[in-house]
């Protein structure tokens, strides 16, 4: 193929929202048979670029060419017809419909003019099998975890025969194996001449699949580079606009301090279990300790958190807090005892779309002090400003509606909400999902400094290196059973991996 030929080309793209210039004169070029990573910090404009390319939001200025012809997609429907198939950030499916329908809706197989359910179910099963997912496709999607929903969304996009495939952070809740499967399929599609746009915050994944990288910063194009010619340090530097100071230096010492102090038991769990979701387990968490929960996807990490927090009511076992046996029947009880839980599912359980950033931050604090007690507006402003700064939340201001924030920045708001309540035990379920490298380190540092002040933290993450960095001890789960605890020198990626895999 000659070098000047582009499958998808965008020129001079501009897009402004009230108060933000989300994209300013951005260029983007995609060749056939190319996997092209779109990189940038939270709020850099990646999702916005994808949305204007696929007709979700109208362009302010600029031209889009597909196969050399100028196009102007009016809606995702139109973009699909033109040959652009997209998985948007966050799972965007209809939870009330069956898995199979979610894959096929809008293009259902027909037989004599009516929907052929048998065929649809069969083909869905086949498609998911390619992603090594053997679930019952006739069940409503809401039965399944975010990770599975994400796989279903991917399966849908893969099956729409298109020229361009766009994946906006599709791997944020997948584990290593699933990601590998996805990459395998992406490579196969690439061979067939598809152009793939891939957004992720996982640097390793970028280098594992991509041919080219385009970097955005604050809505401006930084540049496009061949992946092989762009070392990691430079990539990160270009993304954040300054040299990246690593994590390692500051935190090794921190962790030692924590270990020494952490003899004071805070939470003691004995034989706690919930039928069908997690086998009875024991767990001890000391004051000022960060306990990592590791395991594969679906191994029961989230379920441990949900059972402790009372979302799933335990049907066996007991919990003692500071030596006192307590009954936790529901989240309200848990909050009463100083627990806080930051859920992995920000879209449905986290943000309240039509409230402002300030209101979203204040929410948990308000719940804690009681709904009738008024928190002065001035104090609310102070608090939200402080956390916006602390977590580097990119927003036009505290009064911006949270739904207008980029995915990663929404995540930061939820984190702020729980940090603010100053709980004694904070459970963080995938707190850094969808958060850019720079902010990730900031959050990890924050977690450690919180632990230093005596807060206990349960830290759930699919990224092993992150867990290793943050935790002072780890509990390993497999198939909904707690199988081991790791601490001290054993906390090293290879050993943990072996424990998880059980070899």
């Amino acid at each position: 193929m000659d070098d000047a030929y582009f499958l998808l080309k965008a020129k001079g793209i501009c897009k402004a929202f009230p108060g933000v210039k989300a994209l300013n004169n951005v260029e983007f070029e995609l060749k056939p048979g190319e996997i092209h990573c779109l990189m940038g910090e939270n709020g850099a404009g990646k999702s916005t670029l994808i949305k204007v390319l696929t007709g979700v939001d109208p362009l302010d200025a600029g031209d889009i060419f597909l196969d050399g012809k100028a196009i102007a997609p009016k809606s995702p429907h139109h973009a699909q017809q033109l040959g652009i198939s997209t998985v948007y950030q966050e799972v965007n499916l209809c939870a009330n419909l069956s898995v199979a329908e979610n894959i096929f809706i809008g293009r259902e197989p027909l037989r004599f003019g009516s929907i052929d359910w048998k065929e649809m179910n069969r083909r869905s099963q086949e498609l998911l099998a390619k992603l090594s997912l053997g679930i019952d496709v006739t069940q409503p999607l809401e039965r399944y975890s975010v990770a599975i929903q994400q796989m279903v969304a991917i399966a849908r996009a893969l099956d729409i025969s298109a020229k361009v495939l766009i994946l906006d952070e599709p791997t944020s809740s997948l584990d290593a194996q699933e990601v590998e499967k996805l990459f395998g399929l992406m490579r196969k599609l690439k061979k067939q001449g598809l152009g793939i746009i891939f957004v992720t915050h996982f640097i390793e994944q970028v280098y594992a699949v991509s041919d080219k990288i385009t970097i955005l910063r604050n809505g401006e194009l930084v540049g496009s580079y061949e992946t092989v010619n762009l070392p990691r340090v430079q990539l990160i530097a270009k993304m954040i606009g300054k040299a990246f100071d690593g994590f390692e230096s500051s935190c090794k010492t921190l962790k030692l301090d924590i270990l020494q102090e952490s003899r004071n038991n805070f939470l003691r769990v004995r034989g706690l279990g919930h039928k069908g979701s997690i086998h009875p387990f024991d767990l001890d968490i000391s004051k000022g300790e960060v306990l990592g929960l590791v395991g594969l996807l679906g191994s029961g990490r989230t379920e441990v958190a949900r059972t402790i927090f009372g979302i799933d009511k335990a049907d066996s076992g007991e919990i003692a807090i500071e030596g006192q046996t307590v009954t936790i029947q529901n989240p309200a009880d848990a909050i009463q005892h100083g627990l806080a839980y930051c859920s992995e599912n920000r879209k449905t359980e986290g943000i309240i779309e039509n409230l402002s950033v300030r209101e979203n931050i204040i929410l948990a604090l308000q719940a804690k002090v009681g709904w009738m007690k008024y928190i002065p507006k001035k104090r609310q402003d102070e608090i939200s400003k402080k956390y916006i700064e602390l977590l580097n939340i990119k927003t036009a201001g505290p009064e911006q509606l949270i739904k207008n924030l980029s995915g990663g920045n929404q995540q930061k708001v939820i984190l702020a909400r729980w940090l603010l309540t100053e709980p004694k035990l904070l459970i963080l379920d995938e707190p850094t999902r969808g958060i850019d490298v720079g902010a990730k380190v900031e959050i990890q540092k924050l977690i450690l400094s919180l632990a230093e002040t005596g807060m206990s933290v349960v830290f759930i993450s699919s990224e092993l290196d992150e867990s290793v960095r943050c935790s002072s001890r780890m509990a390993v789960l497999r198939d909904r059973v707690k199988i081991a605890e790791i601490s001290g020198d054993e906390m090293e990626e290879k050993y943990i991996m072996q424990t998880i895999a059980g070899v």
């Binding site: 965007n92 809008g106 929907i115």
Partner: protein, 327 residues
């Protein structure tokens, strides 16, 4: 385990069906002559128009909307048909299609307002309700009797069934519509898009479904159904009058809700709605057989049922949320 889970969504539907047969059985035990096919068929005959309206309403509820203009549209159709047939002396062959077209367009216009100007469906159809009711009185403030021979024939014609039973033409129309609606909701792209949009309109849009078109068409469908119901109602009443079908929209909504279609959208059953209507029919019949109670007791019974079903729905949703991430 799997069976158990499956039933969550269908629980209201199942309760409705079971309750219907239980009430029917109770009537049969209590009253002589209750247990007969004809009593059952009479429920269909007397409620054919309600079935038709409620079917249209079901689609509107599934998409997450509401249409409270249907009762007035029925009144308008009765009134306008009476006027066109009796005063303008038009033929029924012209009047009936005209009425159906009018209902469809009426719905489309309401749907367009709802979608393109993003106004709440309640407000738009409230305006539609006043408009249609008002138009009735513009045509006439009195009752206009329908003497058209075709209408007279349809109104009185009884289709004989085996063992001396019979049904009316309206019942045939209603049952055909039920079958068509079943097909539409389960086997067409349009029907599935309705469910998807009711589940999550934003996602449906991002998945490339024609959200706007589907929404507008659903209101068109509801308008069409109420017009058809109006035609059937004029067969039944043989008159046009501004107070016809007062509050029928609420009966239609109640039928759908009792049949397992919540107001929150994304879920709903055509069969459920049919049984929702029939339950009201069986209660009416029970009260009729009882003899001393006034017919308003039907409303009281329906009120209790609604209450029961709304509480049930909450429980179902609640339990679902608890068992959500099992896999």
């Amino acid at each position: 385990m799997k069976k158990m889970q499956l039933s969550y969504k269908y629980i209201n539907l199942m309760i409705t069906v079971v309750l219907f047969f239980a009430l029917f059985a109770a009537g049969s035990v209590l009253y002589n002559g209750f247990f007969s096919t004809q009593v059952l068929l009479n429920m269909l005959i007397d409620n054919a128009f309600l079935i038709i309206t409620a079917i249209g309403m079901t689609f509107v509820l599934i998409i997450g909307g509401i249409d409270i203009s249907v009762g007035s549209v029925i009144a308008l159709v009765c009134m306008l048909s009476a006027y066109l047939l009796e005063i303008q002396h038009l033929s029924a062959i012209i009047v009936i299609p005209l009425m159906l077209l009018m209902g469809f367009l009426f719905g489309l216009v309401q749907g367009s307002f709802i979608h393109f100007f993003t106004i709440q469906p309640f407000i738009v159809t409230l305006a539609g309700m006043f408009l249609a009711r008002g138009l009735c009185y513009v045509i006439s403030i009195d009752t206009i009797m329908i003497t058209n021979p075709f209408y007279q024939f349809v109104a009185t014609y009884r289709i004989p069934l085996p063992f001396g039973n019979f049904i009316s033409i309206s019942v045939i129309i209603a049952l055909v519509l039920v079958l068509a609606a079943l097909y539409l909701s389960n086997y067409t792209k349009f029907g599935r898009a309705v469910y998807a949009i009711g589940g999550n309109a934003q996602s449906a849009m991002l998945m490339g479904l024609p959200v706007g078109r589907t929404k507008v068409l659903v209101y068109g469908l509801s308008g069409f159904c109420s017009a058809l119901s109006g035609v059937v109602f004029s067969f039944y009443m043989l008159s046009g009058y501004g107070l016809h079908a007062m509050g029928l929209e609420m009966d239609a909504i109640a039928s759908a809700v009792i049949g397992g279609t919540p107001l929150t959208g994304g879920v709903g059953f055509v069969t459920g709605t049919l049984f929702g209507v029939l339950i009201q029919g069986v209660i009416q019949t029970l009260i009729m057989f009882q003899g001393t109670l006034s017919s308003w007791w039907t409303k009281i019974a329906v009120a209790f049922l609604l209450c029961l079903f709304i509480v049930l729905q909450r429980i179902v949703v609640f339990r679902k949320e608890r068992t959500k991430s099992i896999s």
